[in-house]
Amino acid sequence: MMPELDSPKEARRKQRVRVVVVIGACAATASAAVDGSRFHASWYWAPWVLGLTAIVVFTGVAMAISGDLPRRRGRGSGSLRASGRDDVGPAAVAAYRCRTLVLVSRMMPGPAGRRWLAEAESLLSEITAARRGRAIRSYLLSAPRLVLMMWAQEALRRVRPGPRRPR
């Protein structure tokens, strides 16, 4: 059976709760580390055990579901976004995320960058770890030319009158 999915709003609310819990746990643990004397000797272990457990569990959960969270980018009403050309595919389950690729994708025009990133993540999630490094390198090596090509296409599209070519 398919798990019931949270609405984007609910998912964001849960994410905020997790962040607050982790910050609270970090604060409690740090407090115990800096000034353990405020706790009764027999309870000295409590902030350590509970704090560290909370940090590990909530950080783990946040990392595990981070790919499922709705993304903020692309939800605005700018001219590119409003034109209905966001083509990042079905709600992404990003099994593999490379921070460098995310950064590079942001140098590309919005929809084109999101599509490039979605395709790269889709492919990288299906190959073995041994081949992943070479694949990422190839994406990064071709990125500068691709960025120029995409911006050139984007500029032409904006200049040209008439209906836009769907992606």
Partner: protein, 107 residues
Amino acid sequence: MAMRLTVQVQLVLQALLRDPAKEMYGLELSEETGLQPGTAYPILLRLEHEGWVTSRWEDVDPRAEKRPARRYYRLTAGGAVEASAALAGARRPKGAALRRLAGRGVA
């Protein structure tokens, strides 16, 4: 503007022309041509921009499949004709690229 038929472009077109009705996704194309995915992607983008290739996102539930959706590429009817004509007039791929294809009984 005419499509510049580099060896890499020829490899991609040959892979797509093997069965023009068949849709292929990035990894499949990459394995078929021996090109790195980062090399194949700009080529596919250019082919799509020229109208030779069309693409779509796979219609699957990523949670059920336990993997992200794939982007499938296929030659358009016009693209298949133009690609065949272009390949017929193009210089054949040489060296490692040709040997790789020959190993698959294609060249």
